[in-house]
């Protein structure tokens, strides 16, 4: 067992961290966020140059073959910088569908475009009443000759407003919450019948409401089996959850470091507030929650491509529970220990708090996964 990064991984980590340290300060991030897309096309090009957009793809597909650990390294660094670019949406989710579900022709067409930075994607899954249930799909895909016609509405599609293509889940058969009958379709963002309403999100990113009205998708652009796409969707969202866990660990680390620094520098009653033992213990509790989260993020990374599906799903659920709980505690305490300034937009800490809060609501919050895990028998076999 070895928790240390190998030489190659270390190089990747150093280079992404260096890039973000140079180009993603708090003020620079503000400028990136204020642009029309809500993220920096220039940074995206730099990620492409560094090979970050190639990270999870196999060498045969033109990728760097870095697997879930590579994703973990990048996402943790993105969490530390609060990076706004659609890496999760494009490389982890979009790339995940291609890696796990696409045929050779689809891969050959699209992966190179992701890798060179010319294609962005977004995952259009959530619907008005689906909450976190991946099988709760009412958007329909009706077979019509050699193509499908999609109708429905997708909600809170992260980066859905700027994405070149959308990965849409839609039902070819079955009732609303049936596990079978859900397909995965690749839809051009500007295709006839697609309308998108973009908006900012609480954590400074962007999302969209997507309306699909008679959108025609050629059979070539169905990913995987249209009758049975759910296992693929679950595999990819589990990978995305693992990535989000790593991002959350990055955000929590910064909140913890910033808070400890603040305890050393902020003076009240003539002493640094870090002299008060109750605050020392609080910072220690934050550290403990952070390290528990880091450990579960590593578990999630390790299990993201586990072949035993039930085992994978349980571990990922467990990790999301820990991340949600740790994120809440670390975020709330970071604000609390900063006092009034922690409540302001001017200080970075509040922005980290908001991001980690929103990570909890992505792909199922802590309670959702706790129920799922309990229903699946927990993490320790009886």
């Amino acid at each position: 067992m070895d928790f240390d990064l190998n030489e190659e991984q270390r190089l990747i980590k150093d280079s992404v961290e260096r890039l973000l340290a140079d180009r993603y300060g708090f003020e620079q991030r503000k400028a990136h966020g204020a642009s029309e897309r809500g993220w920096s096309a220039d940074m995206w090009a730099q990620y492409a140059d560094l090979g970050l957009l190639a990270m999870p793809f196999s060498a045969d597909d033109g990728g760097m073959d870095q697997g879930p650990v590579g994703t973990m390294i990048v996402m943790e660094a993105f969490g530390r910088a609060l990076a706004l670019e659609p890496y999760l949406a494009t490389v982890v989710l979009g790339g995940g569908f291609l890696r796990n579900g696409a045929n050779a022709a689809q891969k050959a067409d699209l992966i190179p475009q992701i890798v060179d930075g010319s294609l962005t994607l977004a995952f259009a899954q959530t619907e008005r009443h689906s909450r976190y249930d991946l099988a709760d799909v009412t958007t329909t895909a009706r077979k019509d000759g050699g193509s499908y016609v999609l109708d429905g509405a997708k909600s809170v599609v992260v980066h859905g407003d700027s994405a070149d293509k959308l990965i849409v889940t839609a039902r070819v058969a079955g009732d609303r919450r049936d596990r079978s009958g859900i397909g995965v379709f690749l839809v051009d963002g500007n295709a006839a019948g697609v309308s998108r309403r973009g908006y900012p999100t609480q954590d400074g990113q962007r999302a969209a409401e997507v309306l699909l009205e008679g959108v025609r998708v050629e059979a070539d652009w169905v990913i995987g089996e249209p009758e049975n796409g759910l296992p693929l969707i679950e595999q990819v969202t589990d990978e995305a959850i693992a990535a989000l866990c790593a991002e959350a660990v990055g955000t929590m680390s910064v909140m913890h470091e910033t808070t400890v620094d603040y305890l050393k520098t902020r003076k009240q009653f003539g002493v640094p507030i870090g002299d008060f033992q109750v605050l020392q213990h609080r910072a220690a509790d934050m550290f403990l929650m952070l390290e528990q989260a880091r450990s579960m993020s590593m578990l999630a990374t390790m299990m993201a491509d586990e072949q035993d599906v039930a085992e994978r799903r349980r571990s990922i659920a467990g990790a999301k529970v820990q991340i949600g709980r740790s994120g809440r505690f670390v975020g709330q305490q970071a604000v609390q220990l900063h006092g009034g300034v922690g409540m302001t937009m001017e200080l970075a800490v509040g922005h980290y708090f908001k991001r980690v809060t929103m990570i909890d609501t992505a792909f199922g919050d802590a309670d959702y996964h706790l129920s799922r895990l309990a229903d699946a028998g927990g993490l320790i076999a009886a």
């Binding site: 909600s155 809170v156 992260v158 006092g339 009034g340 937009m345 929103m358």
Partner: protein, 400 residues
């Protein structure tokens, strides 16, 4: 021991509840229910409705507009107002500077300021905190130097809530730098229109603009605006903060929010059943209700003891319990609402929070859930942070 409210108290509750529901303007009521931001005018309108009824400042001495109700009736009154839900009166006047002036001010100050506070003719803000003086308030450095019949004030206040609307600010200022820090502080009333005052907004993490920095440069304040005696300001501030703490439990607000959460969780589906039928969610909600009930009983014990002693205004150290638990429970309700909202916590719709009629993303009540959760982190920071309250319990109650 008789733990029930008397018949008379129950009738009183009915009376105030009916009055609130019949008299709150519908638009203000709707904003309160959806937690939309209130305009200055909304608070003014509501305060004047109360004032016309003689209920603007029920806790003040009768000669200045008080109703003479005992602490139990006062508790019922505020609780019902919170549960309506109706806007809380602007606390800086009604709960803070008003009682200070009524207790320590001279007759001229009482005549001049109290009726205008009761009618919200003057909007007050609180100038206590400074960048370097938060929890350690007594270390404040804004100074006031006597010059003939004026004080000349220089320095900076911060976190000044709603100063952007204010006509007046009450400030703690240092009038004697050469003595122990608590005994060189005075309590000054300053007209915000005086030359040399500058207000700069601070944006809070939810996107709101409720706090400000206030800068004072050679601001000349007539000595007649000194409350009580020079260098006794710390005593008045302690009196004021004690009042602030006992009101801060805001149990009525938490009760109303829980009702609202139940209503919304009954509408919102979780799988094939409404969220309220989700066992885990129900149990979490019930757990908060248990704690809230306990806090309500604690609050009533404090109130009843106060009624018996008859020494209104002297804060019970147990009010620190009310502050800590009250703020934690208010925060817990904001977390529960976030859970009901689920994925729809994500869209940032500041226009909707301010009450515009742009089409909402998801449920039409979702927009305020996350901002309220973020914003409500403040309640464990201000009014004496929860850590400071625990220090008070440890020292004043436990003798540690």
């Amino acid at each position: 021991m008789d733990l029930a409210f008397t018949k008379e108290e129950q009738a009183f509750r009915e009376e105030v509840r009916t009055f609130f529901h019949e008299n709150i303007p519908a638009d203000i009521h709707a904003k309160m229910i959806d937690q939309h931001s209130l305009e200055k005018q909304d608070l003014v309108t509501w305060q004047r409705i109360l004032n016309a009824k003689g209920w603007a400042v029920p806790h003040w001495p009768v000669e200045y507009g008080g109703t003479g109700w005992d602490p139990i009736k006062l508790y019922i009154f505020w609780e019902e107002m919170q549960q309506t839900p109706a806007p809380q009166p602007l606390q800086f006047g009604v709960h803070m500077v008003g009682p200070v002036i009524a207790t320590f001010g001279n007759e001229a100050q009482k005549q001049r300021f109290l009726p205008r506070i009761a009618n919200l003719d003057d909007w007050w803000c609180q100038g206590f905190s400074e960048p370097g003086a938060g929890s350690d308030l007594a270390s404040l450095r804004t100074k006031a130097v006597r010059d003939g019949d004026h004080y000349v004030v220089n320095g900076q206040k911060t976190w000044t809530t709603l100063a952007q609307h204010a006509d007046w600010i009450f400030c703690l200022v240092r009038t004697n730098p050469d003595v122990k820090k608590q005994v060189g502080i005075s309590f000054l009333l300053i007209d915000m229109k005086t030359p040399g005052i500058e207000v700069r907004p601070i944006q809070t993490i939810d996107g709101g603009k409720e706090v400000n920095e206030v800068f004072f440069t050679d601001v000349r304040v007539p000595v007649e605006n000194l409350v009580g005696e020079e260098n006794r300001g710390w005593d008045y501030a302690k009196f004021l903060l004690g009042n602030e703490r006992s009101g801060i439990a805001r149990i009525g607000i938490s009760k109303q929010r829980i009702r609202r959460i139940k209503e919304l969780a009954g509408q919102e589906f979780y799988g094939s059943a409404p969220m309220i039928e989700n066992q885990r969610f129900r149990e979490k909600l019930a757990a908060v209700e248990v704690e809230l009930k306990a806090l309500e009983m604690t609050q009533l014990r404090v109130v009843a003891a106060e009624a018996k002693r008859g020494d209104k205004g002297k804060p019970d150290p147990a009010s620190s319990i009310l502050k800590i638990k009250g703020s934690e429970l208010q925060q817990a309700t904001t977390e529960l609402l976030m859970e009901v909202v689920g994925p729809y916590a994500l869209p940032f719709q500041p226009g909707l929070v301010e009450g515009s009629n742009e089409p909402p993303i998801g449920m039409d009540w979702a927009a305020t859930a996350a901002p309220t959760y973020f914003n409500w982190r403040k309640v464990s920071i201000y009014g004496g942070s929860n850590e400071i309250q625990k220090n008070i319990i440890a020292k004043a109650i436990l003798g540690l």
